[in-house]
Symmetry: C2
Subunit: 195 residues, 2 copies
């Protein structure tokens, strides 16, 4: 980010009045360009006791398996975005229950917040979108655990299959830290148990 979007003046990285952190500021037209975390939204698409996964056709992690997910867009809710990504990446239609919010992951190191919703496949019509080279249903014993694209996906699947026998899916929030050359997923919040 070097020039002003509005007037092409050279931007200055400084702390604006009344603020406490550096922003890209235009001293010609007084615009300030804020940068904030982005949300990635997706689903755990389920058919009976199987989960639908997509084999990535694009970088990063090409050839690895993932849950359908992508950047939340302006003008949509997080759940609408998750359903849209499921349609785009897996060619799948899903329905969601009222209690569908399932896992949230803070990734402050890359300025992202992931949110996954539990969803049920409406039918068995699914097919890879342009970002996927394959889409398939997996029983728990068939999940390619060593070939999962991202730690947030692996963690969501692990919790899903652990929660499934109890049919109880509390909302869980995690912090994901990049350190020691590996990524650790640390639970920081889960929903309160009912009385």
């Amino acid at each position: 980010m070097k020039y002003c979007h509005h007037c092409t003046a050279l931007l200055v990285l400084r702390v604006p009045d009344g603020d406490d952190r550096e922003r890209h500021c235009c001293d010609a037209c007084n615009a300030i360009f804020y940068q904030n975390p982005k949300n990635v939204v997706g689903t755990v698409p389920v058919f009976e006791d199987q989960v639908l996964l997509c084999k990535r056709a694009i970088q990063p992690r090409i050839g690895k398996w993932t849950l359908p997910a992508g950047f939340m867009e302006n003008g949509e809710s997080s759940l609408e975005g998750a359903i849209r990504e499921t349609r785009e990446e897996a060619g799948a239609s899903v329905t969601v229950q009222e209690d569908s919010l399932y896992t949230l992951f803070n990734l402050p190191g890359i300025n992202q917040l992931y949110m996954f919703f539990r969803a049920e496949l409406s039918n068995l019509d699914f097919s890879p979108g342009i970002e996927s080279e394959a889409v398939a249903l997996f029983h728990e014993s068939e999940i390619p655990w060593g070939e999962i694209a991202f730690p947030v996906v692996k963690s969501t699947l692990e919790h899903y299959f652990r929660d499934l026998p109890k049919n109880h899916f509390p909302v869980r929030m995690f912090d994901v830290h990049h350190g020691d050359r590996r990524i650790t997923t640390h639970l920081i919040s889960h929903s309160h148990k009912s009385d």
Copy 2:
């Protein structure tokens, strides 16, 4: 958004290859400038059966009461951002339990996602930050319901005082729609009841 941040060429609003919606594109240096929803994070700061509210010293809704909240910043988690905003706006230190995530609001009309966490005041040292003209504790019967700044705050407070007698605070997600000259808050998700 008119000129490229990187090379000052005039931006073109068009659908990039492989995409399905218009973006601001630079045909000189091939940069694409995406715009995505922003997260607003805050707390419900509690002391015994009272909640801490801030009287807004800035627009919008100057003079109205609100929960401490603000834009999530790069490099922090949603909970870290909520605790930071509580310190900045209410001068208050809070501690949070593991199950602190409480309400989420999708506001697709203004490209925002709100998240509130339940938090406990560490002590009674609080004072207004520069965006607040007053900070005070309120019992339920004292809440200035007609003077609450934002529907997401009113909804969070209403649910909080409804959940308090049961000491059960399920995670709830809402869609907020702007229509018919008033804002309606529609529950779309709540956490699963425990077995």
